[in-house]
C-alpha cells in the first residue's frame, strides 16, 4: 500500500497531489491519500475524485489548520504503520518540510524529488541542479519519497474513492508555532533564479508594446521579465533587464524569447535554459536554432493569444 500526503488548502485539493498520485500509482499497490487539515472535507472530497486513488484518509483538527512539519509528520507517522510500503509527498515546500522528519523517525532514507519510478524500490532523481540524473535503489523496508510534479502527468479526475476519518495525532508539544502568513502579491520574481523568464527584443517596437504584451503574460506565468541588449539600447526597458553576455545569465526551466533574433551575446546569457521558446516573425532568426519550440509569426497576434490560453493565477 502506498500513502500520498495531500497538498491542499482545506477547501480543495491542489494539483501537486494529482502529479504525486500518478507517481504513486507506478509503485504497485493501492494508493491512499492522507488529507490532514482543518474543516478539510472539501479537500478530502477532491482527493477522493482523483482517478486511481483507492481510499482517502481524512484527519481533521484545529492544529492542522496551518500545519507545521512537526504536526504533519506526527499525523503521517500515526497512520504509517498500517501496512504502507511507500510514503509519498509532492516535492513542494510542505512535502520537503515534512517528509525528511518522517523518514528520520522511521530510521529510513528519503529519496528526494524523484522524476521517474523504475520499480517499487528504484527511482530516478536529479542531482547537481539537474546536470545529472541518478538511479537509486532503496534497501529500506519503507520508502519515503518526494515527487517532482513536473516529471509526472496529473492524474485525471472522475474517481470516487471512499473517505475514511482517521484518528488525529495529538499536537506536538515542542513544535514550531505558526504566527503569521504573508502571501506574495503579484510581485515578479527576480530575473536570476526565476523558474520562468520572458524576454523581449527589438521586435516589440517600443517600450509601450513591451509592457503591453509581455507583462500580462508574465503575470499569468509568474515569470520574470528580461530583454535583449537591443531592447535595452533602444530604451524599452532599464539596463538591469538585460539578459546576455554583458547582462544577466539565466537558466530557468522555461525561457520565452519574444522578438529576439538571437545574437550570440544574447544566447550566451540564456542557452542553458531547460526549455526555450522563441517567437519571431523571421523564420531564419538564429534564435530558432536553439529553441525547443519555435513559433514563426506576428508577435502582436501571438502574444495576446498565448496569454489568453493560460489560466489566470
Amino acid at each position: 500500500m502506498i500513502l500520498v500526503l495531500a497538498e491542499h488548502d482545506h477547501a480543495s485539493i491542489k494539483s501537486a497531489t494529482h502529479h504525486a498520485v500518478t507517481a504513486a500509482a507506478k509503485l504497485g499497490g493501492p494508493v491512499h491519500v492522507l488529507v490532514a487539515g482543518h474543516d478539510a472535507a472539501g479537500a478530502a472530497k477532491g482527493a477522493a475524485s482523483i482517478a486511481g486513488v483507492a481510499k482517502v484518509l481524512h484527519a481533521d483538527a484545529p492544529h492542522l489548520a496551518s500545519p507545521t512539519a512537526e504536526n504533519l509528520a506526527a499525523q503521517v507517522l500515526a497512520v504509517a504503520p498500517s501496512g504502507y510500503t511507500h510514503l509519498v509527498a509532492p516535492a513542494t515546500g510542505q512535502g520537503k518540510n515534512v517528509m525528511p522528519r518522517v523518514a528520520a523517525k522511521l530510521d529510513v532514507a528519503q529519496v528526494s524529488e524523484i522524476t521517474a519510478v523504475v520499480s517499487a524500490d528504484t527511482f530516478v532523481r536529479p542531482i547537481y541542479a539537474g546536470n545529472a540524473f541518478a538511479t537509486v535503489r532503496s534497501g529500506d523496508r519503507v520508502k519515503v519519497l518526494t515527487v517532482r510534479g513536473t516529471a509526472f502527468d496529473a492524474a485525471a479526475g472522475g474517481g470516487a474513492a471512499p473517505v475514511e476519518a482517521v484518528p488525529v495525532a495529538p499536537a506536538v508539544t515542542r513544535g514550531a508555532v505558526v504566527t503569521g502568513q504573508e502571501l506574495t502579491k503579484s510581485e515578479r520574481p527576480e530575473l536570476v533564479g526565476a523558474r520562468i523568464v520572458i524576454s523581449g527584443g527589438r521586435g516589440l517596437g517600443s517600450g509601450e508594446n513591451y509592457r503591453k504584451l509581455l507583462e500580462p503574460l508574465a503575470d499569468r506565468l509568474n515569470a520574470a521579465l528580461g530583454a535583449s541588449r537591443a531592447a535595452v539600447d533602444a530604451g524599452y526597458v532599464p539596463n538591469d533587464y538585460q539578459v546576455g553576455q554583458t547582462g544577466k545569465i539565466v537558466a530557468p526551466e522555461l525561457y520565452i524569447a519574444v522578438g529576439i533574433s538571437g545574437a550570440i551575446q544574447h544566447l550566451a546569457g540564456m542557452k542553458d535554459s531547460k526549455v526555450i521558446v522563441a517567437i519571431n516573425k523571421d523564420a531564419e532568426a538564429p534564435i530558432f536554432q536553439i529553441a525547443d519550440y519555435g513559433l514563426v509569426g506576428d508577435l502582436f497576434e501571438i502574444l495576446p493569444a498565448l496569454t489568453a490560453a493560460l489560466p489566470a493565477r
Partner: protein
C-alpha cells in the same frame, strides 16, 4: 560568456613546485605562509576578484573616471564600494610590514594575489599598486615621525598614495624635473610645479591622498643628483593623523586614454595659491636614488599586470572558442555536425600560443618573486646578495617581456573572436586596450632593455647572466637525456636556445662598450630573448616535475599532462624565436641606426 576565474590549480603548482613556496615559508618572518593558508588566501582572493572586481571592469571602461567642475573626481559606479570592501578585507596590507598593520606575507604570495586583481580589474588595482609604491618609498627612506604618521593609514588603505615623477618636459628623463621645493623655517617645504600622468591623483575613495613628489631645492645641483622626494598630503594631518587643512594642490585635468579608463590619470598642480606644504623624505637630493629602489617593485608589479591581462584574455578566448560554432572540424568524418571553433587547428594554435606564453611569464614572475623574498629575508648576507643579483637581472625581463607578451596574447584573444573580437561588447578589445599601457609606464620596454644590456649584463662582464644561463643549461641537459620523448624534445630545444643566448651575452659584453649604438638598437631583442628562454626554462622545469608526478600517479593527471604538452608546444613553437631575436641582438641592429635621421 566568460567570467574570470583565478587559475588556482595553476597558481598553486607554480608557487609550490617552481617558486619553492615551502622554502620561502622557512624564511624568517614568513612562517604564516604555509601551503594550506596560502591556498585559503588564494581561494578567497579569487572569489573577491570574480565577484567584486570583475563585474565592475566593463562599467569602469565605459564610464571612466570624470573630473567634475568642483575639482573632485567622479569614479565609475561601484568602484568606491569595491575599494572599501578591498580595504575591509585587509587585502591592501597583504605583504606590508606588520609593524604598520600589514600581514607581512611574502612577495611571492602577493604576486599571485596581485595577478588576480590585475586580471579582474586592472584599472581598479592601480590605486592599490601606487599606494604600495608610496608606502615602500616612505618605509625605506622617511623619518620615524613621517612613517608613524602616514604608514598605518596607507597600509590599511584608509589613505591612498601616488607617485609624482613625470612633468611635461621630464618623462623617461627625470633629470629634467623642474618642480621647486623651498625650505621653510618650520622644517617643511613649499612645493610649486606641475606633474602629469599621476595615477589616482584624485578620487573619491578616501579622506586623504598622500602624494610623493619629486622636486628640486633652490640650491640643488643640476641633473639627477639634485632631485629630492617629498610627502605632500592632500589634507595636512595633525599629530594624531586627523586630516586638517586642505593643502595647496589640485587635479586640474584628467587624461583621455586608450585604456584603463577607470583609473584617473591626473595632471596635478602644486602651489597655485603660493605653495603646497611638503615634507622631505630622507635626505635632500637623494630622491631619484630612493625612487629607483622602489621602482624595482613597481616594475615587477607591472610585469604582473602583463600576466594578469594575458590570463584574462586567454580565458575569454577559450570560453568563446568553446561556444562559437562555425564550420566543420578538419579531419573528422564527413557529415559531422558543425563544430565549435576550438576544434579548428589554427584556433588551437592561437589558444596554445596564448596559454603557453601566459604560463611562461607567470612562472618566471613568481620565481622572481620568491627570489625577492630570499633577497630580503635570508639570514645569510651572501645568500641575500646572490638572490638580489638574480632579482636585479630578472626585473627588466619580467617587466619588459611579460608586458610585451601581454600585447601579443590580448591581440590573439581578439583574433580568436574573429569579427566579434573587434566589437567592444565582447570584452576582448578592452583587454587589448588596457594591456597597451603596460609596456610604457614604469619605464618602456626600451628603457628596460637598456637597463638589461647596460647595468645588468655588460657592467659585470655578464657574470650574473652567465650563471643563470648555466642553470638553464643544466635543466636542458637533464631533460635532453630523459627517456621520455616529450621531455627529451623540450630539453634539446631548450639547449639550443640557451646556447644562442650564451653566445649573445658574449657578443654584448664585448660590444656594448665600443659599439653601444648597435648594441642598444638590438637591446629589446636581447630582452625578448631572455624572456623567451626564461619562460622555456620554467616550463621545462614544470614539465619535468609534472612528468615525475604522473609517473608516481600523484595529483591531477589531466592537469599534469597538460603541463607537459604546453611545455612541449612552447619548446617547439615559441623557443625558435630566440634565433630571430639573436640575429637582431648581435649586430643586426646596424641597419637600424644607419639611416640618417633626416631620411625618416
Amino acid at each position: 560568456m566568460s567570467s574570470y576565474r583565478a587559475p588556482l590549480e595553476e597558481m598553486s603548482f607554480v608557487l609550490n613546485e617552481l617558486a619553492g613556496l615551502a622554502g620561502v615559508a622557512k624564511l624568517p618572518g614568513c612562517g604564516e605562509a604555509d601551503p594550506a593558508t596560502v591556498a585559503a588566501i588564494l581561494e578567497e582572493a579569487g572569489k573577491f576578484a570574480t565577484d567584486v572586481l570583475e563585474p565592475l571592469n566593463r562599467t569602469g571602461d565605459l564610464r571612466g573616471a570624470r573630473l567634475l567642475e568642483d575639482g573632485s573626481m567622479r569614479m565609475p559606479p561601484g568602484f568606491r564600494d569595491a575599494y572599501w570592501k578591498f580595504v575591509e578585507g585587509g587585502w591592501n596590507g597583504l605583504a606590508k610590514n606588520p609593524e604598520y598593520g600589514g600581514q607581512g606575507l611574502p612577495e611571492v604570495v602577493a604576486a599571485a594575489v596581485e595577478e588576480m586583481w590585475h586580471a579582474s580589474n586592472m584599472a581598479f588595482d592601480l590605486c592599490a599598486m601606487l599606494t604600495q609604491g608610496a608606502i615602500e618609498a616612505i618605509e625605506r627612506n622617511a623619518s620615524p615621525e613621517l612613517k608613524a604618521l602616514y604608514l598605518p593609514k596607507m597600509v590599511s588603505g584608509q589613505w591612498t598614495g601616488t607617485m609624482n615623477l613625470t612633468e611635461p618636459q621630464a618623462g623617461s628623463d627625470l633629470a629634467a624635473v623642474r618642480t621647486r621645493a623651498v625650505p621653510q623655517p618650520d622644517g617643511s617645504y613649499r612645493i610649486t610645479g606641475q606633474k602629469i600622468f599621476i595615477t589616482y591623483g584624485e578620487h573619491d575613495y578616501t579622506e586623504n591622498i598622500v602624494h610623493l613628489v619629486l622636486a628640486r631645492l633652490p640650491d640643488a645641483p643640476e641633473g639627477v643628483k639634485g632631485i629630492s622626494l617629498f610627502v605632500v598630503p592632500k589634507f595636512l594631518p595633525d599629530a594624531q593623523g586627523k586630516p586638517g587643512a586642505r593643502n595647496d594642490l589640485r587635479c586640474v585635468s584628467v587624461e583621455h586614454k586608450l585604456g584603463i579608463h577607470a583609473s584617473p590619470t591626473c595632471v596635478m598642480s602644486y602651489g597655485d595659491g603660493g605653495g603646497a606644504t611638503g615634507f622631505v623624505v630622507g635626505e635632500p637630493n637623494r630622491g631619484l636614488e630612493y625612487m629607483f629602489v622602489m621602482m624595482n617593485l613597481a616594475r615587477y608589479s607591472v610585469g604582473l599586470e602583463g600576466v594578469g591581462i594575458a590570463e584574462r584574455a586567454y580565458q575569454r578566448a577559450v570560453a568563446y572558442a568553446r561556444e562559437r560554432v562555425q564550420g566543420r572540424a578538419v579531419g573528422l568524418e564527413k557529415g559531422a555536425k558543425p563544430a565549435a571553433i576550438i576544434e579548428h587547428p589554427d584556433v588551437r594554435r592561437m589558444l596554445m600560443t596564448m596559454r603557453a606564453q601566459t604560463e611562461a611569464i607567470r612562472a618566471v614572475a613568481y620565481v622572481t618573486g620568491a627570489a625577492m623574498d630570499h633577497a630580503k629575508r635570508e639570514p645569510d648576507a651572501e645568500a641575500r646578495k646572490r638572490h638580489q643579483a638574480f632579482v636585479d637581472l630578472m626585473i627588466p625581463i619580467v617587466k619588459g617581456h611579460s608586458t610585451e607578451v601581454a600585447q601579443e596574447v590580448a591581440s590573439l584573444g581578439i583574433q580568436v573572436h574573429g569579427g566579434m573580437g573587434f566589437i567592444e561588447e565582447t570584452g576582448a578589445a578592452q583587454h587589448f586596450r588596457d594591456a597597451r599601457i603596460t609596456t610604457i609606464y614604469e619605464g618602456t620596454t626600451g628603457i628596460q632593455a637598456n637597463d638589461l644590456v647596460g647595468r645588468k649584463t655588460a657592467r659585470d662582464g655578464g657574470a650574473v647572466a652567465k650563471s643563470v644561463v648555466g642553470e638553464v643549461a643544466k635543466v636542458a641537459r637533464r631533460l635532453g637525456g630523459s627517456g621520455d620523448s616529450a621531455l627529451k624534445a623540450i630539453g634539446s630545444r631548450l639547449a639550443a636556445a640557451v646556447a644562442t643566448l650564451d653566445r649573445t651575452i658574449d657578443w654584448l659584453v664585448s660590444n656594448a662598450g665600443g659599439n653601444a649604438r648597435v648594441a642598444l638598437a638590438g637591446s629589446v631583442a636581447y630582452l625578448r630573448m631572455w624572456g623567451v628562454v626564461a619562460g622555456g626554462w620554467q616550463l621545462a622545469r614544470a614539465a619535468e616535475i609534472a612528468a615525475a608526478k604522473l609517473a608516481a600517479r600523484e595529483g591531477d593527471a589531466a592537469f599534469l599532462q597538460a603541463k607537459v604538452t604546453t611545455a612541449r608546444f612552447y619548446a617547439e613553437a615559441i623557443l625558435p624565436w630566440v634565433d630571430a631575436h639573436a640575429a637582431l641582438a648581435t649586430g643586426g641592429g646596424e641597419a637600424a641606426v644607419a639611416l640618417p635621421a633626416e631620411r625618416f
